[in-house]
């Protein structure tokens, strides 16, 4: 099963390789990983999408917690949370498909951010499923390039996750 985990870490030398090394060294799987500083000093937040059965997930959480550089680990999977991902998509457009491409962009509330006579570059944010959806519809036109950020997540409700 797929799990989305937030990890608050010390923003210090080598921390990313500690986390990624833990996953590779123990044979855990990383589907996506995004990281950026938070408002708290010297603190970064990683969002990791991984998969495994309950036993593996328990190990992943415990092993992450065991790292000295890890401040907090939250597995959002069984919680109510919002996930958002950014994707930039370069799609080929022929004269007869350009209108259709714009319609799709409109329906998904995406944006065209760069145009050439034969391509559109589209920006879209949303839950990963929504991004899969637009990619599915654009695919027949010919997708030249996709860049996805991997999801970041935040819990619903008033409470925040801090270090």
């Amino acid at each position: 099963m797929k799990h989305t985990i937030s990890v608050l870490v010390e923003n210090e030398f080598g921390v990313l390789s500690r986390i990624s090394g833990l996953f590779s060294g123990r044979g855990f799987n990383i589907e996506s990983l995004s990281v950026a500083p938070t408002l708290e000093p010297n603190t970064s937040r990683m969002t990791i999408v991984t998969s495994g059965d309950d036993r593996i997930l328990e190990q992943i959480t415990k092993q992450l917690n065991k790292l000295i550089s890890t401040i907090k680990v939250v597995d959002f999977t069984s919680k109510d949370f919002i996930a958002r991902e950014l994707a930039l998509i370069k799609v080929s457009t022929e004269a007869e498909t350009r209108a259709e491409a714009l319609r799709i962009v409109d329906i998904f509330r995406a944006k065209v951010i760069d145009v050439t006579p034969r391509t559109y570059t589209i920006e879209i944010t949303g839950a990963p499923g929504k991004i899969n959806g637009i990619l599915e519809l654009l695919r027949p036109m010919g997708i030249k390039e996709v860049v996805r950020s991997g999801p970041v997540v935040i819990g619903r409700g008033a409470k925040g996750v801090t270090g």
Binding site: E10, Q59, I68
Partner: protein
């Protein structure tokens, strides 16, 4: 007064109570060595950086204090890696200090540059690259704190040369505050109450104890719990000296080369209380049939150890000393239930006694050829009770575990997790430095001995009276045994074709050596070796194709043992 970085390092070590370090100099630590020249810190020069780390490790294992090793950058640092990984696998508290090229050169493939932080990330509890002298004292403080608290482990500090030269006012921090590191020491009261009830309900309980008992210095508490409840105790390789092996409740070692009665007891038990042990594959054999009929209580300070390999009915996270004493106190309060529990235990004890009698730990004695087990028994008989025994890795290591009957905590130093040949001699060296007046013996194989035999020089230089016992079968015996049993006796690269004159080797270094080829010389040579001052090497030519039995073949359940006939 301003101090240089290397002076700050040494002052910080003193603040941590360090009086002895093991190491090897080089360009990137030359400033540290210049300050060591007239420092009160005692430095032991080994002949290889790997040995310096093993020596610090042996020092730590027998004292419980943090061992310290120093090496230069590049090859000095990479030479420490096997030593660090060995300590990591056995959770030994250590701080390793490596020199590094100056910060402006890091990443430039400078002379003797190695990314030792990158290399050791998976085999240290934590590591640090100190880029600024302002962080130095704080880093040393944190390194020692991390190494000795929680589940202990090695911590590496990489110290660039320019930081060693830079100057700053020295002040040592009084406290450590690491937001991401707060080990749990106190066992949860409710969980411990539950454990007490589970114990009292059990009819066939077994205590399965590991190296954590040594690390937590909980041998006395363990003995008290065992005697209070009369529950038999199976020990892992790492815990052989943590529970007196001649005690009536001792089942001996369990696992691949464990006793019949330990393995049968674990297989048949209805409650397994695992304390400071980690269900290693050498212990469990085929995991799905390990303690199949039992509920499992698992006590460990490291939450990741719990439920890693087996499902657990009751986890307790905490320091073993704390948890065991609380458990005992809780059982004391349930006096009546405890009394009837002990009465009910009779049946289980009778059963265990029959297993013990049916297949005791035995070997075929001989008048014509020296049996390794016989040498071990004689060593036990002729050595002091508090003698410290180090081993290398192989058959001799298992025979020591099986036949030495350890009686005092922290007297058995062996590489369990990583199984590092070459560990024993430097570890014994470190132990002898820690305890100059105690007997220290390295029980070695002819193969392993050659992995760090250069340390004979260190022993002689510092007149460290380590007694080296080589059980010489002219084989990489443990591998040969596997080849005999599972590869049709195809002894591929395990025959040591060149017979080494170990006595001459010892003499070349200025140590004393004895060869022993006859059974009737065994006792006299051991006595003579023990009486001779300074380092002594005793080379016993043993029965060559002796096997370590019992043995659980890989992939089998632990009750499916090949037994000694």
């Amino acid at each position: 007064m301003k101090l240089t970085g290397s002076q700050i390092l040494l002052e910080s070590l003193k603040c941590e109570g360090v009086d002895t370090v093991f190491g090897y100099p080089g360009g990137a630590v030359i400033n540290i060595y210049d300050d060591l020249y007239d420092s009160s810190i005692n430095h032991i020069l080994t002949r290889h950086e790997q040995a310096a780390v093993h020596a610090a490790d042996g020092y730590a294992r027998c004292t419980g204090q943090v061992g310290v090793a120093i090496a230069t950058s590049g090859p000095g640092a990479t030479n420490t890696v096997t030593g660090i990984a060995t300590a990591y696998m056995d959770s030994i508290p250590m701080v390793i200090i490596t020199g590094q090229v100056p910060t402006p050169l890091i990443g430039n493939d400078a002379f003797q540059e190695a990314d030792i932080c990158g290399i050791t990330r998976p085999c240290t509890k934590h590591n640090f690259l100190v880029k600024n002298i302002r962080d130095l004292a704080k880093t040393v403080k944190e390194a020692f704190y991390i190494a000795r608290t929680g589940r202990p482990g090695p911590v590496l500090i990489d110290l660039p040369k320019d930081v060693q030269v830079d100057t700053l006012e020295f002040s040592y921090p009084a406290t450590v505050d690491l937001r991401g590191y707060k080990p749990t020491y106190s066992g949860n009261f409710r969980q411990i109450e539950k454990a007490a009830r589970m114990i009292l309900e059990a009819r066939r309980p077994v205590l399965y104890v590991g190296g954590g008992i040594n690390l937590s210095a909980a041998s006395a508490e363990l003995l008290a719990l065992a005697e209070q409840t009369r529950i038999p105790v199976a020990t892992t390789l790492m815990a052989m000296s943590a529970f007196p092996q001649r005690h009536p409740l001792a089942l001996g070692m369990l696992g691949m080369h464990g006793t019949f009665c330990a393995n049968m007891s674990v297989t048949e038990c209805d409650l397994l209380v695992a304390i400071g042990a980690r269900f290693d594959d050498r212990v469990t054999g085929r995991i799905d049939s390990f303690a199949e009929k039992a509920k499992i209580i698992h006590v460990d300070i490291d939450p990741t150890s719990i439920k890693k390999n087996v499902a657990v009915d009751l986890p307790i996270v905490g320091d073993l000393k704390d948890v065991i004493s609380k458990l005992k106190a809780s059982l004391d309060q349930k006096e009546e239930a405890l009394q009837s529990f002990k009465e009910e235990l009779q049946e289980w004890q009778t059963k265990i006694a029959t297993w013990r009698e049916r297949h005791p730990m035995v070997y075929q004695p001989s008048d014509t050829v020296i049996k390794p087990q016989f040498v071990i028994e004689k060593l036990r008989e002729l050595s002091n009770d508090d003698a410290i025994i180090a081993t290398e890795v192989g058959q001799h290591q298992m025979w020591t575990a099986q036949f030495f009957s350890f009686s005092q905590p922290r007297t058995f130093l062996t590489s369990g997790g990583l199984g590092t040949m070459g560990f024993g001699l430097p570890a014994a060296l470190g132990a002898q430095v820690a305890f100059p007046d105690r007997q220290v013996i390295d029980i070695s194989g002819d193969g392993s001995f050659q992995m760090n035999s250069q340390e004979l020089a260190t022993l002689v230089q510092y007149q460290l009276p380590v007694k080296i016992v080589i059980l010489n079968n002219n084989y990489l015996g443990m591998v040969r045994q596997w080849q005999q049993m599972f590869f049709d006796k195809r002894y591929s690269q395990t025959v040591m074709e060149l017979p080494i004159d170990f006595v001459k080797l010892a003499e070349a270094y200025g140590a004393v050596g004895f060869n022993v080829t006859r059974v009737d010389e065994v006792e006299t040579v051991i006595k003579k070796g023990f009486e001779t001052p300074g380092p002594v090497l005793m080379n016993f030519q043993i029965s060559r194709e002796e096997n370590v039995l019992p043995m659980v073949p890989a992939g089998k359940a632990i009750h499916e043992m090949v037994l000694a006939s």
